[in-house]
């Protein structure tokens, strides 16, 4: 009936092993998840392409050197010279897609950073102060959430004028309430936790408790949301560009605009819609897969 001490020690070690280092544990879970690996590979390719675009692209994306081959109803298709063909402006499609990765990444990262940062600030204030500060900020966020995201972004971008900057701002603003609400709810749960009570019991100042104890423990859903929101930001950017709300300069190779421009020649040159679309799909897929895997690894409720 009674365990020997050695056995008891073994049990103790086993239970200790179960809750091994959270960081290492999360990483271990991620590594075993194939969708994480695929997603990560897609993101890595996407980022490398974006950064090394000048090295990878065979031609300049704005060089209209094949313009005289373009006829109404005809553009040169894929060939040895232009692997993905030539667009209606006589520019190399492959080079434009490669350079387009830069814009997608730029818009995604910048708008997400601004949006997430502002959201975290708002969420932290609401979660830390509670009371009327919380109510005021959250009602404001509710108002923003009441308008469908893309519609809100279209309105804002149209209001701010056609430029990359206004697209970024529009997408950032749409993201603010999402992050703010997420962080606030996660902080509210942490605020009631035992270690917060314990640190209050030794006189730690309120702001320090928020920044050092509550916030770091509430941030993991925000990280997950960040990866997923990056994917959405890329889609939104493409959508805005498709609707003609991107950069005012037509030579800027945005994937969304490239899709929009091929509408007229969809029957004669479907490859011009197919390849930018594929680029959007794969980059977005990468972030979604990683985001999903992260959520699975970080959320204790989904752990098997």
């Amino acid at each position: 009936m009674s365990l020997t001490q050695a056995e008891a020690a073994e049990v103790a070690i086993e239970t200790l092993g179960e809750e091994a280092a959270p960081k290492a544990e999360v990483w271990r879970r991620l590594r075993r998840n194939p969708s994480f690996l695929i997603g990560l590979a897609l993101i890595v390719i996407f980022v490398i392409v974006a950064i090394a675009a000048p090295l990878l692209a065979p031609y300049s994306p704005t060089d209209r050197q094949w313009f005289d081959e373009v006829r109404p109803g005809f553009v040169p298709g894929p060939r040895a010279e232009n692997l993905l063909g030539v667009d209606q402006q006589g520019q190399d499609e492959l080079s434009r897609i490669i350079y387009g990765a830069r814009y997608s990444l730029l818009i995604g990262v910048v708008s997400l950073s601004i949006g997430a940062f502002a959201g975290i600030v708002v969420g932290t204030l609401a979660g830390a102060f509670g009371g009327w500060v919380d109510s005021l900020l959250m009602r404001l966020m509710d108002v923003m959430l009441a308008i469908p995201g893309l519609l809100f972004a279209i309105g804002l971008a149209a209001l701010l004028g056609r430029s990359l900057k206004s697209v970024m701002i529009a997408i950032a603003v749409v993201n603010v309430p999402i992050f703010a609400r997420l962080l606030r709810s996660s902080m509210l749960a942490q605020r009631e936790s035992d270690y917060v009570l314990a640190s209050r019991s030794v006189g730690v100042r309120r702001w320090r408790i928020v920044m050092q104890h509550v916030l770091p423990n509430s941030i993991s859903p925000v990280i997950v949301q960040g990866t997923l929101a990056l994917a959405t930001a890329i889609i939104d950017a493409a959508g805005l560009a498709f609707l003609g709300l991107g950069s005012a300069d037509p030579s800027v190779p945005e994937w969304g605009r490239m899709l929009a421009e091929t509408q007229r020649s969809l029957a004669s040159a479907p490859q011009l819609a197919f390849f930018p679309g594929l680029a959007i799909v794969f980059s977005v897929l990468g972030f979604y897969l990683v985001g999903d895997a992260l959520r699975e690894a970080l959320d204790p409720k989904l752990r098997r």
């Binding site: 009936m1 009674s2 008891a8 959270p22 050092q212 770091p216």
Partner: protein
């Protein structure tokens, strides 16, 4: 002058649409410097709320605290947040029940201790680290200096409670409140932690208020004991008095429900009938009367006052809130009455020591759980609680054949 003086402390929780709940209902007690005081009672009797009220840690909304809490003559109730924060950790500190959740999982142990030193004394980082290592060493964490950079999950439960104790003692507070410090730990670790607390309290000369539902813990550690029931102190006495001559039917019932090492085999446990919910408001009589075997007419009507027990001497103070107390044991039994103390006191420690002391292992039929008998619901069916990690009496691998008789 006493270090801490609590007078008529009242805590009322009120929620819209519900009747207000009097969690603490006029509690008064004193703690002298260096004294160890036990606050005993079953779940929901208000002992934890009392401690949180003293610390000023109760939420503000929906809670009314009245009465007075004086620390060295300074009124704590009504201090503003900043003053209270300066006080907490430096003058009063608290140890919580569950060490597994009371440490921040994303901060290193070292950081969580140095934070307190920096906060209260402005200790520079490097010195704070040295001090933190010393504190961890003091509470018996091996390789203390190297473990400063470890995270809580890398420690076992007992070790984490040691860390909690180290951080509570970091600023050498005058008063330490320990709220069920051993409840989440298994019995052998409980004994170690209690020994540690005892030694540290003696060393540091700080006062200790130990809040527990475990009479064994009280017997091993506290000089004075207050027994609480339904928000009020019903009996308070020195440890020896209380265990030797319990007068309140509740205290007597608690003691009777503790299984003893020296009991005849198969003796049924005698739990207190009913549950803490079977209570009446103090205003309409004794809250314990619905469960009390000694209930008489005067129990209902007016709340019984807390009065000195008639045989109490100046040395052995003994206060009682009961109109029909259980009879004091006759002189012969008083000597025998040291038995419960010995039995209960060693209840926690016995488990830790019996394996070493080879001679005549006590024939225990006590389960690990039975050492914490205050919750009557559990005490009524102790058979379920045969913990596997029970090192007591390893030679007799007898299964506890605990009585299955329910409350009578």
């Amino acid at each position: 002058m006493s270090l801490l003086s609590v007078r008529d402390l009242e805590v009322v929780f009120s929620r819209r649409g519900r009747r207000p709940v009097r969690a603490v209902d006029g509690v008064s007690f004193d703690v002298r410097a260096g004294q160890t005081l036990g606050l005993v009672g079953e779940s929901g009797c208000g002992k934890s709320v009392t401690s949180l009220a003293i610390m000023g840690l109760l939420p503000k909304r929906g809670v009314q605290v009245a009465g007075s809490v004086l620390l060295e003559g300074r009124q704590l109730l009504g201090l503003d947040d900043g003053e209270l924060r300066d006080l907490r950790g430096r003058d009063i500190a608290m140890i919580f029940q569950d060490p597994l959740t009371s440490l921040n999982p994303v901060l290193t142990i070292g950081r969580q201790i140095t934070e307190i030193l920096e906060r209260h004394f402005g200790t520079p980082k490097r010195e704070a680290r040295v001090e933190a290592a010393r504190l961890l060493d003091m509470v018996g964490i091996p390789n203390a200096a190297r473990r400063l950079d470890d995270y809580p999950h890398q420690f076992s439960g007992g070790m984490r409670q040691r860390v909690m104790i180290a951080s509570a003692l970091a600023c050498q507070p005058k008063l330490l409140i320990a709220d069920e410090p051993t409840t989440a730990l298994d019995v052998t670790i409980q004994a170690q932690i209690l020994e540690l607390l005892k030694a540290l309290v003696v060393d540091s000369q700080s006062a200790l208020v130990l809040i527990t539902h475990d009479l064994g813990v009280v017997a091993g550690l506290c000089e004075n004991v207050h027994v609480m029931y339904s928000g009020r102190i019903v009996e308070s006495a020195t440890r020896r008095e209380l265990f030797g001559r319990p007068r309140h039917p509740y205290t007597a019932g608690l003691l009777a429900s503790v299984p003893r090492l020296d009991q005849e085999r198969g003796t049924p446990l005698r739990p207190i009938a009913g549950s803490p919910r079977d209570t009446i408001p103090w205003a309409s009589g004794c809250a314990f009367s619905p469960r009390c075997p000694n209930q008489i007419e005067p129990c209902l009507g007016a709340p019984p006052p807390l009065l000195p027990e008639h045989a109490a001497s100046a040395v052995q103070s003994h206060d009682l809130r009961c109109v029909n107390p259980v009879p004091a044991p006759v002189a012969e039994q008083v000597t025998a009455a040291r038995r419960p103390r010995a039995g209960v006191a060693s209840a926690t420690r016995a488990t830790a020591t019996t394996t070493e002391s080879g001679d005549s292992p006590p024939r225990v039929r006590r389960t690990a759980k039975a050492a914490t008998p205050v919750r009557p619901a559990k005490a009524a069916k102790p058979a379920k609680a045969a913990k596997p990690a029970k090192p007591a009496a390893p030679s007799k691998a007898t299964k506890p054949q605990a009585p299955r008789k329910g409350a009578r």
